[in-house]
């Protein structure tokens, strides 16, 4: 039996309230607040900046430390080649969560390594028989896997962080 007594319209903001027996969570007080899109966009452009804009500077700095730490460790281990929009498209969807730094790394990979400006281009036969040229700085094997995983993890965590920043300032923050 459908409950036809509850109607939602697009003009009314939808808030989901917990029942009286539900335990209060850390975000209960934020349910009725509007979304802070500027904080979300800032959080994508520079991880942690969304929280800093919301007045939570220490939290923002810690998020920045975590996201940039993961991303830079990944690039340090796997090299520029671990961020590749064309060859690893699905991984790049996750990596793009870190913001412009992922696109910059991909551009540097294309501009420096794939063009042969750094390292040397080596001939390689593709599985379909085509002749390719790959950079001598291309990362392969577990090193590439770890670098890709670190950078993708940073991107996914930054999506969580910017969704948190979208909710606006916390009432109790240190």
């Amino acid at each position: 039996m459908l409950d036809r007594t509850r109607h939602y319209t697009l003009s009314q903001p939808r808030t989901f309230r917990r029942g009286p027996t539900a335990q209060a969570s850390m975000h209960d007080e934020l349910e009725d607040q509007p979304l802070h899109f500027a904080a979300g966009v800032l959080g994508w452009i520079c991880p942690g900046m969304g929280h800093i804009r919301n007045g939570d500077a220490r939290r923002g700095r810690l998020i920045m430390l975590g996201i940039f730490g993961l991303f830079l460790t990944g690039v340090l281990v796997g090299g520029l080649d671990c961020v590749d929009r064309r060859e690893d498209g699905l991984w790049f969807v996750a990596q793009a969560g870190t913001g412009p730094i992922a696109f910059l790394t991909d551009a540097l990979n294309t501009g420096l390594l794939k063009s042969g400006k750094m390292g040397t281009l080596l001939p390689m036969t593709a599985p379909n028989g085509a002749m390719l040229q790959v950079s001598s700085f291309k990362s392969v094997g577990s090193v590439n896997d770890v670098g890709t995983l670190f950078t993708a993890m940073a991107g996914l965590l930054n999506v969580v962080a910017l969704l948190d920043a979208l909710r606006g300032p916390r009432k109790e923050s240190t």
Binding site: M26, R58, R59, L62, I63, L65, G66, I67, G69, L70, L72, T73, V75, L76, V77, G78, G79, L80, D81, C82, L112, L113, M118, G119, F137, S139, G141, S142, V143, N144, D145, V146, G147, L149, F150, M153, A154, L157, N158, V160, A161, D164, R170, E172, S173, T174
Partner: protein, 82 residues
């Protein structure tokens, strides 16, 4: 010789292929640093919480690896071939 020409953040660390599994420690630490910064309501016990979560993640991965090793080396060989 190759390490002399090594360019950080451009070339991969060639030697890391031998100890890549150790990188699970900084990965767990990085995830914990970010996750606890997002989730904790108050940050006064931030670093102890990060240390606890890092330990939990590492323990979970070690347990998972041990379980998979038992499955592959003990359980699967006991199954009939046909």
């Amino acid at each position: 010789m190759s390490m002399i020409a090594y360019t950080p953040f451009v070339q991969p660390i060639a030697d890391a292929a031998h100890w890549w599994w150790l990188l699970v420690v900084p990965m767990c630490a990085g995830v914990s640093v970010t996750w606890k910064a997002i989730r904790l309501r108050a940050l006064d016990r931030y670093w102890p919480e990060v240390a606890i979560m890092t330990g939990q993640l590492l323990a979970g991965m070690v347990a998972l690896a041990a379980g998979l090793m038992v499955l592959v080396r003990v359980v699967l060989p006991m199954l009939p071939a046909d």
